[in-house]
Symmetry: C2
Amino acid sequence: MPKVSDDHLAARRSQILDGARGCFAEYGYDGATVRRLEETTGLSRGAIFHHFRDKDALFLALAKEDAERMADVAANQGLVQVMRDMLADPAQFNWLGTRLEIARRLRTDPEFRANWEERSEELNAATLARLERRKAQGALRDDVPTDVLLGYLELVLDGLIARIASGHTSENLAAVLDLVEASVRRRADQ
Amino acid sequence: MPKVSDDHLAARRSQILDGARGCFAEYGYDGATVRRLEETTGLSRGAIFHHFRDKDALFLALAKEDAERMADVAANQGLVQVMRDMLADPAQFNWLGTRLEIARRLRTDPEFRANWEERSEELNAATLARLERRKAQGALRDDVPTDVLLGYLELVLDGLIARIASGHTSENLAAVLDLVEASVRRRADQ
């Protein structure tokens, strides 16, 4: 019965990813040792690395999960909504600090970087598609190229991730996101 | 001759800070071991820790140097100019990745966090003072509270630091910063 087996594999995979997410959030990338991954997933190293080749693969799979979830929201409601969702429940995104810890590796390890960029491609594409659609509807400002608007929103997202990861979510960030959203919109009097 | 002695101390301190900056940039926070700090500063651990109590103290002193330099620019030319300067010479800011690596500690270690916030206070104050001045001159938009404009610029700065630290400085970031600057300005037709 392959169906049951597939379900089992998917459940196991998801159990590993959930545990790893908590482990990265608590201990950071380097601190997420094999022993700690065993504790937080409740599985043996053999089981974990049967599903994921190594810690990098585990990390990239989590990044992919995030990117897919964000891409869904970005495609329908835009990247600012993705940020609002993060702001509404920052604790859920504590693991994102791990993304920051790996910044130096992104800079210095081309293969890791290529894998990482592949993961974020989906989110970029979803955001870009929505921007193009909104622009065609006349909802976006037309004095700034779409790739600059995309770069702008991605830069703010990176800032928000850094802020959430360090626990610095000041009270006025919701108003800041309103300003960000207004900055890409067509002005009412145009 | 206390003057000579003071000069000597200042030169030694500066030698340590320069070496430590390079060490953090290359190896990251955890990777900047005492042995590596000795190599990059060219000084013994005794000499290094005579000037700085521990690695945290060294790190916070570097953050203070940055904050002071940025505060000078921010006070006169604004925070966007600080960002343009970073973008013009990103390699000089590679060490900022270390700021990202410590995000988890900022979230979980209240004392470290308090020390860190004290360091960034000067930059915030300089930026806020300039925003207030520009607002009084009628150069800034007046439909958004100044603290929101400040929070906005700081969020973008955090994003830029993350981008530079990971080597992701895309070509259109200069145009993105133009958009950021325009977003806080009073519109020409107001």
